[in-house]
């Protein structure tokens, strides 16, 4: 699938989560997403960026504009080199949290996206990518 444009952001401190939200909003506006879809994308990005920071010890976000025929999409890939997730199925369940959160980060981000991929290995890190199509 052709990737039109790609950019990367560091997620190292809480302020970076705010910058990630702003970058995703700007990209979603540029791609012509409506307000509700923009809000879903930014909210999902906020959850995943916080996870990257809290569980992954920091990492990166890659933003990609996608073209698939007439469709345009935005793909967000969060990657860290943290401890990884031992039981992905358990981590995807509502209410599961190891850091005292609400446990809605992963499951909520999946519900707010059209596509969701997670790849994680204990000791190696976690890579989560979500896509929303316009």
């Amino acid at each position: 699938m052709p990737v039109l444009l790609s950019e990367e952001h560091q997620i190292r401190q809480p302020e970076d989560v705010v910058l990630v939200r702003q970058a995703v909003r700007q990209k979603a506006v540029e791609l012509g997403f409506n307000l509700v879809d923009q809000t879903k994308l930014v909210t999902a990005a906020s959850e995943l960026a916080r996870n990257t920071l809290q569980y992954g010890g920091g990492g990166t976000l890659r933003l990609e504009s996608l073209v698939d025929g007439l469709r345009r999409g935005l793909r967000l890939t969060f990657a860290d080199e943290g401890p990884g997730i031992a039981d992905i199925e358990q981590a995807m369940r509502d209410g599961f949290s190891t850091a005292g959160g609400l446990g809605l980060g992963l499951s909520g981000a999946r519900r707010l996206s059209n596509e969701f991929h997670i790849d994680s290995r204990p000791g190696e890190g976690t890579r989560i990518s979500i896509t929303r199509w316009r």
């Binding site: 809480p14 809000t39 959850e47 959160g101």
Partner: protein
């Protein structure tokens, strides 16, 4: 340090969140607000989130925690001004803001606070 201002108006505290909060700022607001409820002997807290472009699980939990803490401190909390797109996203995310009273705008929120505080005063008078 960056802080969100809390205004006192009679027995009410008013908070308007106008910036995109990072998590530490949200935690500071929670601490400041509980301290101020006690210091100002506030009976009601109104939080205006009309400027917020998203409410994620962290901010949602902060709002629920503030409502819970103020209840324990004998104050009512009302959250007002949620944008429609935020409401749609919040429900899809899986957050129901249990225990948080909401109103459409500041005017209705103040009305709700007044009614609830008046109701509690009557209960107190009745049981005395």
């Amino acid at each position: 340090m960056e802080r969100i201002p809390i205004l006192k108006m009679g027995e009410y505290l008013l908070v308007t969140i106008q910036v995109d909060m990072h998590d530490r700022l949200a935690m500071t607001l929670q601490d400041d607000l509980t301290a101020k409820i006690v210091a100002a002997r506030a009976r009601g807290v109104l939080i205006d989130i009309s400027a917020l472009e998203i409410v994620d699980s962290f901010i949602g939990r902060m709002l629920a925690d503030i409502a819970g803490m103020s209840r324990v401190l004998d104050a009512e909390t009302v959250v007002v001004g949620m944008r429609p797109a935020v409401a749609i996203t919040l429900v899809e995310l899986g957050l129901s803001l249990t225990g948080v009273r909401t109103a459409l705008n500041v005017e209705r929120g103040m009305e709700l606070l007044r009614r609830r505080i008046a109701g509690r005063n009557e209960d107190d008078a009745g049981s005395a």
